[in-house]
Amino acid sequence: MPKDTGIGASPKRREDVRFLTGKGRYTDDINVAGQAHVVFLRSDVAHGTINGIDTAAAEAMEGVVGVFTAMDFDGVGGIPCGWQITDREGNPMQEPKHPILAEGKVRHVGDPIAAVVAESVSIARDACEAIEVDITSLPAVMDMKKAVQADAPKVHDDLTSNLCYDWGFVEDNRQAVDDAIKSAAHVTTLELVNNRLIANPMEPRVAVGDYARHDDSSTLYTTSQNPHVIRLLMGAFVLGIPEHKLRVVAPDVGGGFGTKIFHYAEEAFCTFAAKQLERPVKWTASRSEAFMSDAHGRDHVTKIELALDADNNFTAVRTETYANMGAYLSTFAPSVPTWLHGTLMAGNYKTPLVYVNVKAVFTNTVPVDAYRGAGRPEATFQLERVVDKAARELGIDPVELRRQNFIREFPYQTPVAVEYDTGDYDATMDKLLEMIDRDGFEARRKESESRGKLRGLGINCYIEACGIAPSKLVGQLGARAGLYESATVRVNATGGLVVMTGSHSHGQGHETSFPQVIADMIGINEDQIEIVHGDTANAPMGMGTYGSRSLAVGGSAMFRATEKIIAKAKKIAAHIMEASDEDIELKDGKFTVAGTDKELAWGDVTLAAYVPHNYPLEDLEPGLEETAFYDPNNFTYPAGAYACEVEVDPETGFVEVLSFAAADDFGNVVNPMIVEGQVHGGLAQGIGQALFENCAYDEDGQLLSASYMDYTMPRAKDLPMFQVDHSCATPCTHNPLGVKGCGEAGAIGSPPSIVNGVLDALASGGHDVGHIDMPLTPAKVWAAMQGTGGTGDGTAHARSVGGPAKNV
């Protein structure tokens, strides 16, 4: 029997009512009386020296309130980076300044040069066109491998090169890995590109800055996944506003997927300009602007080698990755290809030796940072592709090869720093095989062939690290912030309660799922519990939502705060019922005294807390409100096995995804409906990466996929119904809810399935193609079948960024 309330139930989402009736309050729905509008003049060249900016004509236009250039930001800080990587030599990474408006140089198409604040968007836009910018174009730095050569033009003249850092992990293992690869019975090598993507939440970014003269305080409404982080970064590092004079509100947010984590120049601009002009300033990105100003994701070029012994045991993995940082370091950019990627290179396997080398490179492109999965999809893709390639080379079953190398004992200390607390990779694989009727595949393949189509089956595993993150550990790894989460539980006199969480929902449904946890703990109705988030004015300092951390970290903070509430409430109940604290039990919203028939309702105790007449005032403060900060002591490790069946049209190269199955281990599940929805969305993005999505630049740094006309967003018609399962649960051992997180798994685990599946289909048609770089567009698949595309020898094109699909 499915439950209908509490943990494990799937109540309908309460937030849906406002979204379905048009009553959501997204940032662009907020208009502050007297607001002016800002439009940014953005660079249309990728790299150039600014010789001069003439704003006179723009300033003279009617309706223009103010025109800003870098000169107006003297004394204002740059946009900070939140993570510092230490390179193989022990030196800190190179960290360029990231000004709010371009200083001296433009470094990517879309780099803001000037900003016009005006009475309306149209006037501001007209005035932008009246600004004359004298730019001398410089050669664009686009190809990462060329960018690190000695004679390459530099993105930042004050840095020694375009290399942000050269990171080795674990450096001490390097020699041993090299030796193991030399002495291996078999080595499978694969070079591949993890294609650059754009997160594309459907709500474009918006910022509204407001300034109150009477108390010298600033407010920023912004489309953010983590308002407190924005307050800290912008207040302390950019504008020098103390946190108590700065309020950041992230109301309803229309999707984030990582790209709304970061602190952006536009946020700082609106807050700054509102104070300068003493007028609210609003910025709403157009989609075109989003394409060239939202941080992009992925963009790795990797060589991976997998060594096996004569019995097909994995003995070593060595990888070398070029990771694109773009023109500036976005908030978490340096951590993505390192700590979120290198630490996962053991995958689900007991490979004893792993060495990961990452070269992070500056190019004249939009900054690259975390996008759903962040580092883990890149790790999973290369590992699961190379394992599949090894199976093909060795002529063994890809599932058996994986199984043979599975980790089976937990906790398991990987050779890449992290310790997996729990897992059962056989269970999810067994479940997957049950879901997909693998035995029936040959018959289905025959059926496809009878229609002239090639059918393929792709299977892979994944593991990821979620519940980000233990503050002490990430501090050692270079994070400049803690990654705990907070919650304040405020119980009202009449028994209802409000949770102010530092987590943020931008589609994840916290308002529904968080109350399920508390309802179970106290035994009251979910509708007595209200979740409040997204406003630094009322929630305690929190780190926000990303890295599948809301429930694992934010939920745990709420759990701890609620434990404190219950402990105090029990003391009050004990006093009233004249019993000792230890004898009080709380169940179904009632306090009872063990071994007696005394009972007291939840509401009587909460009332007593605020009307403390019969109350132990000597020992206990009145009121019932508690705050907890939860700092996890490990990551969580969701894992699973995914499979898909695809059909390739050999005449056109068109790939149709016929089915997709995901067997995940998320530990305990609070709301299965929401969890499934998260997986569906992740799968769509992973399939999107594998088949459709490509953020491509040309050699001059022009963005080719600059709108939905060229950047392929998956549509309903492009996807099948998904089969998802999360019944193989090994609860997390170190957080109180036993949860692992489910927000990113789909996007992490699915790309290799698709590519493995397409290559399997091609192989069945006699096309021995070693690899095709994502996205597997019809043109690329067809070219691979003609022997002109693809990379039969496993050598990736050296290009760092897509570029026109060439059949070379």
Binding site: M202, E203, P204, I674, E676, G677
Partner: protein
């Protein structure tokens, strides 16, 4: 500026519009109905779909002045008279057909248009019809289910038990 009057969700509403004012802007800024969203500038995402004289259109791609006098229905007009969720809205909630809610107004309005023409669509027809509505959150799985359910067809329950 010209005064433009339309019947929006059954009520007469008047607001100013320039020649270039789009219906989506007129609705959001002119008459402060912010349920209609703007997700792109190339007429592709469908977050802005509303009905004009009974037909689904992209409100970002219609000029307000051009349809002066029209009957317009937006997502704000889809609830039952008593304020409870309409059939389509209810199905979206029941089957978790939304996450962040940004595409949702357009999805609901496109669904309403589909079911008017085709009261019992197949899954393939639903997917085909929604070609102009992009959702980044749901992977469409539960949207398709919600649409089927709204049309009175049997669909699998919301979460695997």
């Amino acid at each position: 500026m010209t005064k433009v009057t339309m019947t929006v969700n059954g009520k007469t509403r008047t607001a100013e519009a320039e020649g270039r004012t789009l219906l989506a802007e007129w609705l959001r800024e002119g008459v402060r109905l912010t349920g209609t969203h703007i997700g792109c500038d190339t007429s592709q995402c469908g977050a802005c779909v509303v009905h004009v004289n009974g037909e689904a259109v992209k409100a970002c791609s219609v000029l307000a002045q051009e349809i002066d006098g029209a009957e317009v229905t937006t997502v704000e007009g889809m609830a039952n008279a008593d304020g409870s969720l309409g059939v389509i809205q209810q199905a979206f909630q029941d089957y978790h057909g939304l996450q962040c809610g940004f595409c949702t107004p357009g999805m609901v309005m496109s669904t309403a248009a589909l079911l008017k023409d085709n009261p019992q669509p197949t899954e393939a027809e639903v997917r085909h019809y929604l070609e102009g509505n992009i959702c980044r959150c749901t992977g469409y799985h539960n949207i398709v289910k919600a649409v089927m359910a709204a049309s009175g067809q049997q669909v699998a329950p919301v979460a695997a038990e």
